[in-house]
Point group: C2
Chain length 141, copies 2
């Protein structure tokens, strides 16, 4: 299972973007400064977000990024999927003869991970960027 800083950065950056893109596109430089994330790393992340139609880019001076959809249409699932944070639990090796063979005698933990995956995914399906924005505003007093 993977759920690391890259996914966290993606979410942080998108929350930041959502808060500032109402008037002008937001440059990665600004996000980098505000969120304390390396600019080079942000570029990698946004490249993926763009490929997955979560953001749009505007080149040139005063350019930057804008959300492609409304914050309530962007689920966390989409974000994690975009940056390759597969919310996948450890898989049983297909070749292994002992333990799991995918047939009648599945290994004892096979169903467990499937269940867990469903459980986690349902959490991320429900949460949208908008939910995080609200949450964030509440906190800033």
């Amino acid at each position: 299972m993977k759920l690391t800083s890259k996914g966290r950065y993606a979410v942080m950056a998108l929350v930041d973007l959502a808060r500032f893109d109402s008037i002008n596109p937001v440059s990665l430089r600004d996000i980098s400064l505000r969120q304390g994330i390396s600019l080079d790393y942000l570029e990698q992340i946004f490249s993926k977000l763009k490929k997955n139609q979560i953001v749009q880019s505007i080149r040139g001076t005063q350019g930057g990024y804008v959300l492609s959809k409304k914050p309530n249409e962007i689920k966390l699932t989409n974000i994690f999927h975009a940056v390759d944070e597969k919310v996948k639990t450890v898989q049983c090796k297909k070749e292994s003869k002992k333990g799991c063979n995918g047939k009648a005698t599945k290994c004892s933990t096979h169903n467990l991970w499937d269940e867990l995956e469903t459980h986690i995914n349902s959490f991320f399906e429900k949460k949208s960027l908008e939910d995080l924005l609200k949450n964030n505003n509440d906190q800033r007093i």
Copy 2:
């Protein structure tokens, strides 16, 4: 967040142990053969399980391991905790001035990870070794 093979192996091994320890202690060698997990690696894992009072060891010929508690008293939380599979999501760096500083202006994702952690932990709190045993027996026709 960490949730890797070590945790999976620990659960697999304990399910195996629970199914065979009713009469005699079960040797790691047997578990290794049945589950296809390296004996040396199992020893590392069981050393931790023992420290956390999940299993007891019996040395000498015909020795092996036995569960310290009943299967329904061993929650998955206990197992993962024992083998250092911290179900902890990525943390905000404490030193970072931007983003999260732990005070009023928490970073936008801080609560998210807390929530997720609670969500996942509740899943593991509910599941006990006994649940997996049932599940496993059902499958073996």
